[in-house]
């Protein structure tokens, strides 16, 4: 004998009921935690920016340290920069999508002061092996020497690609230049066989790769190359 739960009508009604209950449960849960999640994201952005200039902050003191260290914030459109105290909230992913459609990209720029000299911090975003990777690059006031970097990822393999966040990798970028010796823009490549594992050569535009993470490493190099390039027109105006 067929059970009543096997009829088509019951199945359809059950599905509709299940979708409504689960949908409203999740929507309610998501909206009740939205404010906390957004606030967490803001604080995380501040911690990450500070991390690129070597300032350690945690969630309790991030906002205070951010205002202490980051002296100016700009949003660049073309070659004009407008001061904006919430430039750190600019969504780089959305701006990159705009650029792909041919619209003008808004580029956030943060200026910190370190030992009396300006440090220019720019956000970059690209693709790793599994998902997005992003970071902040701090340039010294000559606008070509890297002062420090911060990288993060959404879903790279733990122990392999995920190691781009580790200091043994990010420290290698310090002192590297984004122009080669002939003065052409080269950014910094992630090389598997540069014969320079401890990265003493700061003139080769290369850092040593992480073993077993070729695609993530290539992603970092591509992200730097395209991410810094969009700022060059504005940097040129600063040098004049």
């Amino acid at each position: 004998m067929a059970k009543k739960t096997d009829s088509n009508l019951y199945t359809i009604l059950f599905s509709i009921g299940m979708v409504i209950i689960v949908g409203s449960l999740l929507a309610g849960f998501a909206s009740s935690t939205r404010e906390m999640r957004e606030n967490n994201d803001k604080v995380k952005a501040q911690i990450d920016i500070l991390s690129s200039i070597g300032v350690d902050a945690d969630r309790s003191n991030a906002t205070q340290k951010f205002t202490e260290n980051i002296k100016e914030q700009y949003v660049i459109e073309g070659t004009t920069a407008t001061e904006n105290p919430e430039a750190y909230l600019v969504d780089v992913k959305k701006e990159q999508a705009k650029a792909k459609k041919g619209e003008t990209q808004r580029l956030p720029l943060f200026i910190a002061e370190k030992e009396g000299k300006k440090v220019y911090i720019i956000p970059v975003r690209g693709a790793g092996l599994w998902d997005a990777i992003w970071g902040y690059i701090a340039l010294k006031d000559d606008l070509q020497t890297i002062d420090g970097v911060f990288f993060d990822h959404k879903g790279e393999t733990p122990g392999l690609g995920a190691n781009i966040t580790q200091s043994f990798f990010t420290d290698d970028f310090k002192g590297e230049k984004i122009y080669d010796q002939k003065g052409n823009y080269a950014a910094v490549a992630v090389s598997k066989s540069n014969g320079d594992p401890s990265n003493n050569d700061k003139e080769d535009n290369e850092v040593d790769a992480i073993g077993g993470a070729t695609i993530t490493g290539n992603g970092v190099a591509a992200m730097l190359k395209s991410g810094i390039k969009v700022y060059l027109p504005y940097f040129e105006t600063l040098k004049k």
Binding site: F14, S15, M18, A30, G155
Partner: protein, 215 residues
């Protein structure tokens, strides 16, 4: 509550009916996330929540679910619980959520969960409480294997445990590295996880001959 059957529900999956080594379920996630011990432990705890609560929900709903869409209904329950875990972590423990979000998502594809819903929670003879015990028991057995595999992979692959160096410093060549030891990068790759699980299965079958299948 503490009848022999209920205790067995918790105890059996730990070793003699282990979901990974005996039922051969949940292998994929065991390979994917065991490169670090911390990730293994968090995955085990999250699976314990999803499987325990999910088994109770499915058990309570078993007479209402139409058999033609029961797999979809089970998936909806797993996905809902996983999203709730993810949102809670993001709101209250953002730093932990950051490291874990990739693993939390993987829970949805964990065969153990669907396997237990299908094999135990939907069985008319089992009560919601027994389903809960079964869920916790299986997650416990799953977690045990994850921790064993994660321990050996992180120790031999990175020379660390929970991220702390325990074998010395590979760059400064101190501790074991001074004797010429090198980290085995192969341990961090998925094939080595499969071999490690295989070795555990071997040890287990060697100790308990009744687990050996004869054909």
């Amino acid at each position: 509550m503490a009848s022999k059957k209920n205790i067995d529900l918790i105890k059996d999956p730990l070793w003699d009916n282990n979901p990974i080594t005996v039922q051969v379920l949940g292998i994929c996630s065991a390979l994917a996330i065991t490169a670090e011990l911390k990730a293994s432990i968090v995955m085990a705890v999250s699976v314990m929540f999803v499987l325990g609560v999910g088994n109770v929900i499915i058990s309570l709903m078993k007479n209402m679910i139409p058999s033609s869409i029961r797999i979809i209904a089970q998936l909806v329950v797993v996905a809902t619980l996983v999203i709730i875990v993810d949102l809670t972590l993001k709101a209250f423990m953002p730093d932990l959520a950051k490291t874990l979000s990739v693993f939390i998502g993987l829970i949805i594809t964990n065969c153990i969960i669907m396997g237990r819903f299908e094999a135990f929670a939907l069985d008319p003879n089992n009560t919601p409480l027994q389903s809960f015990m079964d869920g916790i028991g299986n997650a416990w057995g799953y977690g045990l294997i994850l921790v064993i595999v994660g321990f050996f992979r992180e120790l031999l692959g990175s020379g660390t445990l929970f991220g702390f160096p325990v074998l010395g410093d590979p760059v400064e060549k101190t501790g074991l590295y001074a004797l010429g030891y090198e980290n085995n990068g192969f341990m961090l790759l998925a094939p080595m996880a499969l071999i490690t699980v295989g070795l555990i299965i071997w040890v287990q079958r060697a100790k308990n001959k009744s687990l050996i299948e004869t054909h």
